[in-house]
């Protein structure tokens, strides 16, 4: 409507831009588009590293995996509030490791160990709790086993944290099919609710000090509970109003036939998926299981695609899947694949023995494979400093 009246003074807009999005602001943005990595690539890379972590219990390899992902995160994470979540994930991983160790100490384990470190008083349990032990001998073997196991889980968590830090789930959301977009936004808004809630709680606890009440302790937290919830709810309502006024949830008129086909396709597709899965899992359904599952999946996807026509949404600068993104995803996949291979060819190196207790050694070529995961740190440009 108003393109004709474009203000004359606005920099960079006075030139006519006849050839689409990339012509009007020159090389700078093309370069930036090139540098942009698809968020999906980061998620694939991180999850592949996580998969690799599940293939081994060798603490040296796991530590190497953590170091690799941490290095990439440290050098390549953008300066957004999201990227700070990495620290939270690392803390969570540490907590998991500690809890695993604590359980190993108090609950004992069926592992026959010979190196007794200490003996805790054992709590006698009734007959029905047979097989469970509280306290008793704590052996070095039990502890080492728990450490390996916990470290595996911690590595997995840290890899997920890396995915969060490198590409926020909101960016990933932009790549969802149109029909799922609105659900996706609702989920993201719900997710931001929690950080807001925490910020509110902190502010209100601080305000308690102004009333002359202690601002620390559990009781303080309870007393601000209701106002915090009220505030968060009010903000959500305001956000909903703003989203509504900005066109969230607009639908396009589609012919009735298309609407019905969409419904039919989605329903039969989902039924097909259910039946197919059932077929695959039961013994006698081996023949029809896979084809039905595939057909159901195809029908559901077609339904989704057709459903996308009801929403007139378009995407602003969608993330493009460029060769660089492929390489990043591939480097992650290679790590996962090579470690899976190594786990089958050289299981003793990847799962160092606990009984008898031996020192883990660093298997050379699996370690080299893990280092492949460093590739993204050299492929992508470092993030810009915030202006």
């Amino acid at each position: 409507m108003a393109e004709q009246h474009r203000p004359k003074g606005a920099r960079g807009t006075a030139r006519p831009a006849p050839h689409g999005p990339q012509t009007n602001d020159g090389a700078h943005h093309r370069a930036q588009l090139r540098a942009q990595t698809h968020p999906g690539a980061w998620w694939l890379w991180s999850l592949a590293l996580g998969t690799a972590a599940t293939r081994t219990t060798n603490p040296l390899l796991l530590t190497l995996l953590i170091t690799v992902s941490a290095y990439v995160v440290a050098t390549r994470r953008p300066a957004t509030p999201w990227s700070r979540s990495y620290g939270a994930f690392v803390k969570l991983a540490l907590a998991v490791l500690l809890i695993r160790l604590l359980f190993a100490i108090t609950l004992g384990s069926p592992l026959p160990g010979t190196h007794t470190l200490l003996t805790l008083p054992e709590v006698p349990l009734p007959d029905w709790a047979q097989g469970i032990r509280l306290g008793g001998k704590v052996t070095a073997e039990t502890l080492v086993f728990a450490l390996y196991d916990g470290l595996k889980l911690a590595t997995l968590l840290i890899c997920v944290g890396a995915a969060n830090a490198l590409a926020s789930p909101t960016r990933l959301l932009k790549s969802l099919p149109g029909a799922l977009y609105e659900t996706g936004v609702a989920v993201v808004v719900a997710l931001t609710f929690a950080p807001h809630l925490i910020a509110d709680a902190q502010r209100l606890r601080a305000a308690r000090r102004l009333r002359g009440r202690p601002d620390r302790g559990i009781r303080g937290l309870f007393q601000v509970g209701l106002p915090v919830l009220e505030g968060a709810l009010e903000r959500s309502v305001a956000l909903a109003a703003a989203m509504d006024a900005r066109g969230y949830g607009r639908t396009a008129q589609v012919p009735r036939a298309v609407r019905r086909t969409t419904a039919a396709l989605t329903l039969t597709g989902l039924l097909g998926v259910c039946a197919g899965t059932y077929g695959l899992l039961t013994a006698e359904g081996g023949t029809y299981g896979l084809p039905v599952l595939l057909a159901g999946l195809a029908a559901a996807l077609a339904g989704l695609w057709l459903g996308g026509r009801r929403t007139p949404r378009t995407r602003y600068r969608p993330d493009t899947w460029n060769p660089r993104s492929c390489l990043i995803a591939a480097s992650g996949a290679a790590v996962a694949a090579l470690l899976t291979l190594a786990a089958s060819t050289d299981p003793t190196a990847l799962h160092p023995g606990v009984i008898p207790l031996v020192a883990p050694t660093l298997p050379l070529w699996p370690a080299a494979a893990v280092l492949l995961g460093l590739l993204p740190a050299f492929l992508t440009a470092p993030p810009k400093e915030p202006s």
Binding site: H5, G20, P318
Partner: protein
Amino acid sequence: MIRFEDVSVIYDGAAEPTIQGVDFEVPEGELVLLVGPSGVGKSTLLGAVSGLVPHFTGGTLRGRVTVAGRDTRTHKPRELADVVGTVGQDPLSHFVTDTVEDELAYGMESLGLAPDVMRRRVEETLDLLGLADLRHRPIATLSGGQQQRVAIGSVLTPHPSVLVLDEPTSALDPAAAEEVLAVLQRLVHDLGTTILMAEHRLERVIQYADRIALLPTPGAPPILGTPAEVMAVSPVYPPVVALGRLAAWTPLPLTVRDARRRAAELRERLKERHDIAAQGRGELRDQPQQTRTRQQSTPPELLGATHRRWFSRKRTHTTSKPPCAAEIQALTVTRGRIQALRHINLSITPGETIALMGRNGAGKSTLLSTLVGLVQPTSGSVRVGDATPHRTPPPDLVRRVGLVPQEPRDLLYADTVAAECTAADADAGAAPGTCRALVSELLPGITDDTHPRDLSEGQRLTLALAVVLTARPPLLLLDEPTRGLDYAAKSRLVTLLRELAAEGHAIVLATHDVELAAELAHRVILLAEGEVIADGPTADVVVSSPSFAPQVTKILAPQQWLTVAQVRKALS
């Protein structure tokens, strides 16, 4: 462009309609300002344009509202999104995405515009609003003024023909407000956008309005007219109009420029009067024009203040009891990598009112937080009375210093006024009934069982103030007290704070409101990037600054008058 036909809105459970008899039209390309005291239904009227009233808020709308020919009864807000852009009071609750660029594109994505059109408009809007450097920044890291501009930009990109704004400059410092208003004016002039805007700070916006719709009392039909006509009868008016009414200028001047051109005669009269009776506010004028140094800390130059000044100086020498309500020495606060405050020296004397001014993010709130111990100094020392705030347990601290935060609601937890008062008495260790007595005095007519949430913005502020005052702190801090207050509530607050200062309370206000500072403060401290850049008597500091000078000062320069009240007193 916008047409109201005999519109009335009644919310569910309300006895009276919130607005009624609204019948006017806003033609294309006009900027109409909606004015009126708090609670007359300005937000409801604005909501009716975007369709949020009644589709989102509930209630019953009678009559008809049409926007660009679309009836809001049959069109939901989302179906009006391509013609109406709405920005609410709080920009933060408006944002859906987390970076500036995505936020600008969001509305267009919902409307399904072609990618190349979106790209072009985002670039245009970034330039139009001066946001190009911030395009990749997360919104949470922006300042208030920047956020407000992003919010306006985000509704501009779909090129709506109507823009509805609810108090777009209330939370902004004077410079940022001018930035936003300049953008709005440009939209009206260059793009022919129709704007309907509600704003309490008339002194900032009135010169941009083509017409004004005045809602005088709740439920009364709006009065529509040119700004000069409406201002002649309006219960709310900016200082320039007040001065015009006082001097009986017709037609009323609306801008400082208009008023200055008429003011020669008034200046003359004031000069004569002043020469005859060289007292009153005289010493303000007779002060030599000083260059402001950083550490200059002059106690109030009020009538009779010289005595106190002498007295307090003497006490410094003779007794060990600190004469200052608070003393800050070489204070530095670092938050993360940012230095929020740098080497601040400040002493606050009892009975003194200080206005703390500066840009959004200059460190005003941090300084106040340091004084109540919410923020620990990185280096330097803070003393309030004889205590160090961040080491003092809260129950002791409330008797020394009280802070009314930016959002007074943060202080109120209970679900009735009575419960709030009982809790406040207990917290402060005051005799039962102290707080309730204060509330009755400050807020007559509030019943015990009122929920604090149901109070108006001004009433809530006063309730929070009463809660804080229950402990009788000698030092009282207020963060942005006039945000969302109309002129009546503001003048009540001014009277109240003046009385408190006269009783010997030291008061520190962090504010963007230059008129409030002019009326109330003895001393103004300007902060920029965490440093004190000016500290001195109000008249000296604000007179020399183009953005912090109140309207009366600008009109009557080079004479140094700050408020209409002073002028009135001098003339009588």
